[in-house]
């Protein structure tokens, strides 16, 4: 439990804690718009996602990286002429299509 260690004398550890428990993680969520509209709730130095099972009893797990998906459009500009890296250097992208 994340809330229990926040109480008792453990709270003497000098840090602030903000807790957010979402109600729609398993299904289509609506929190994204809320985060955008209310950034004041989400300002922090460290963000911990507590959504993982321990591998064994007494052996806690910590999320250190996430897979995700990115939707983006990449524009690459290069010359309209066919040319080789040997000629213009490797930082000059080659055209692959005519």
């Amino acid at each position: 439990m994340i809330t229990a260690p926040l109480s008792g004398s453990l709270k003497e550890i000098p840090r602030g804690s903000e807790v957010l428990i979402e109600g729609e993680e398993e299904t289509t969520g609506h929190i994204e718009e809320f985060v955008t509209a209310h950034p004041e709730f989400f300002r922090c130095d460290v963000f911990i996602i507590v959504d993982n099972g321990n591998l064994s009893v007494g052996d806690p797990a910590l999320v250190t990286a996430l897979r995700g998906e990115v939707s983006c459009i990449i524009n690459v500009h290069t010359s309209i002429m066919r040319c080789t890296p040997e000629y213009l250097g490797e930082r000059h992208p080659m055209r692959l299509l005519p």
């Binding site: 439990m1 994340i2 809330t3 229990a4 260690p5 926040l6 109480s7 008792g8 004398s9 453990l10 709270k11 003497e12 550890i13 000098p14 840090r15 602030g16 804690s17 903000e18 807790v19 957010l20 428990i21 979402e22 109600g23 729609e24 993680e25 398993e26 299904t27 969520g29 609506h30 929190i31 718009e33 809320f34 209310h38 709730f41 989400f42 300002r43 922090c44 130095d45 460290v46 963000f47 911990i48 996602i49 507590v50 959504d51 099972g53 009893v57």
Partner: protein, 131 residues
């Protein structure tokens, strides 16, 4: 303020809290808080309220439901940082996947059962154990 807590002391205090923590977990498993469309809303909202109660009991401040337009509320609470200290934000969720006995459960997924040092029930791990 200097942190005088040793790792052993943190372990000791955490272990001392476990009986209450496990009682809370068992009570939260009983809410079939399935947020998928087509499932009843009442258990989800009740679970949100129960989460508020748990956060308050463990001393969080300003605990409240955040209205999420179009969806179920999120639960928020905080312990303000001392001056100059960092803020840690902790995210978890109180909704769960659907579960029926027909899915292969040996026990009722909405009734916590302790067997061999483990608690069985929907959300016992994902993610009510983290609350």
């Amino acid at each position: 303020m200097r942190n005088e807590l040793t790792f052993e002391e943190i372990l000791r205090q955490t272990r001392a809290m476990m009986p209450d923590v496990l009682d809370d977990l068992k009570s939260l498993i009983r809410y079939p808080s399935v947020a998928f469309p087509g499932h009843p809303a009442e258990p989800v909202n009740s679970m949100a309220e129960a989460t508020v109660t748990v956060l308050k009991r463990y001393g969080l401040q300003d605990v409240r439901l955040l209205d999420i337009p179009g969806g179920y509320p999120a639960v928020y609470g905080e312990i303000p940082p001392p001056p100059g200290a960092p803020t840690i934000m902790i995210y978890a969720h109180y909704d769960v996947q659907p579960a029926t006995r027909g899915d292969g459960w040996d026990t009722d997924p909405w009734i916590p059962v302790e067997k061999g040092g483990r608690i069985y029930g929907r959300g016992a791990a994902d993610d009510k154990s983290e609350l």
